[in-house]
Symmetry: C2
Subunit: 268 residues, 2 copies
Amino acid sequence: MSGPNGARIRNPRPASRRRLPVDKGDRYGCAMARDIQERIKKLIIDQRLPSGSVLPTEPELMERLGVSRNSVREALKALQAMGIVEIRHGFGTYVGPMSMAPMIEGLTFRTVAGHYRGEDSLLQLLELREAVETGLIARLAGSLPAADLAELDALVDRMDAEAAGPGGEVRAETDRAFHATLYRCLGNQLLGEVLEAFWDAFHKVRTDLVDVPQDPRVTCRQHREILDAVRSSDVVRAERAIREHFGNIRTRLNAPVTAAVPRPTYDR
Amino acid sequence: MSGPNGARIRNPRPASRRRLPVDKGDRYGCAMARDIQERIKKLIIDQRLPSGSVLPTEPELMERLGVSRNSVREALKALQAMGIVEIRHGFGTYVGPMSMAPMIEGLTFRTVAGHYRGEDSLLQLLELREAVETGLIARLAGSLPAADLAELDALVDRMDAEAAGPGGEVRAETDRAFHATLYRCLGNQLLGEVLEAFWDAFHKVRTDLVDVPQDPRVTCRQHREILDAVRSSDVVRAERAIREHFGNIRTRLNAPVTAAVPRPTYDR
DNA sequence: AAGAGTCAGCTGCTCTAACCAACTGAGCTA
DNA sequence: TAGCTCAGTTGGTTAGAGCAGCTGACTCTT
């Protein structure tokens, strides 16, 4: 039943299956499964359940919703994939953290798939990050608390140390922390999580797919410049610094991406 | 087994269940289900399957992955929730559109839940939109093709007509189209989809939860101002126009949000 | 009596088997 | 020829059984 590369071959009705699915606006599956998901979501909303609350057990949901165990489980699996519930074997089902973790996963997959198909999906993701951070930096300039400035100073210092250290590279975690700390003072949790999600997805794909050469000293200098610009309340300079930083990543990205031969394996 | 409000009461072991789940880094469920999902994803990536491609049928996946139909279906349900596959009753399973639709859903739920819990989640979502659009507008000023400018002109004209028309309100679809068309020329599909996702989630929550009063003439004037600023290549003016537009939405949002008594029903 | 091991009873996880529902295509009927 | 039915495909749903992770209380040992 399987072709040479595991490709699917269906003898009795090969042509008809080539039909592309017609969009009937009926995404997300059939009525019942969708309905169960909605009812569980409604349960969470209506009872104002916070993250971590206990949800009914599978047998209880079966009885309450009047469906079989299997349907309940499929609905819960879908909700789990969206981060709405969290399932723990032997414990029970809980209201999920509602984090952006599922988005990271979806975005990562989409970017990897697009990359392998020859699209510039990684570049698009970078542009997205650039857009958000550029739009935020103006609000930041001059209004960063002293404590955050000190923390950012320490992070850039650490970058310097890492660049001069044995590895000769700035650790990814340090870069991530810098960008996260920079926008923390805005007091917008969603913003922070989305930015981290974009960063995570970008970083995952970049390290997995393309081997980007980087000059760690340039990285350090650019982060320092961003920090100094923000400290001195210079909006224009801050925006320019951010753009330069991303421009740097972009140029480093462009060369290898076009030349790179996608590796045949994907093991995420 | 159920309390007065449908709250769960478990007689034999009530105290132990109050334990919050310990984070073992094992999100997304047990090993096997997770593994099946990964293998299906690997199949899509390795064979470079584009959106709409036929995936193996459930029996074929059972055999190939060596698991039961139930497990296959649960994995597919989770992947469907992430937009990675699309399941069509009676047809088969296909590679999904990889759109941002699941993100809209997750974001909407998160925002609704946060709103009901008294957080300013809707405002956070608006700030996110503002950040992205502000960061993009500079790249746009002066580089918009004439065709897009004409289309935007027509959209603002339509807004005027709708504002003066019977309803006296600018239709949501027109606003959506304006923002979508504005950033289309950047040639970044991801960017466009993310912006639309944010718009959709914001709009869904706003119309469902808070009844925002709006002066349609102000809305029209602000969109016209954005368009004119972009047309005249005036970056500073364009940024100011965007900020004013979002500032307008924000102020209209702030008053009712704090005063609003959340309705007890959630029916999405 | 204190400690350790076992066991019953929760929880979710997986499998098997059967049937239902949506859809297609070929062959039959009028 | 036009329309229908029917077999065979696909996913959707139900049912029942047993497995696996976890807790608390009971029991046996020391």
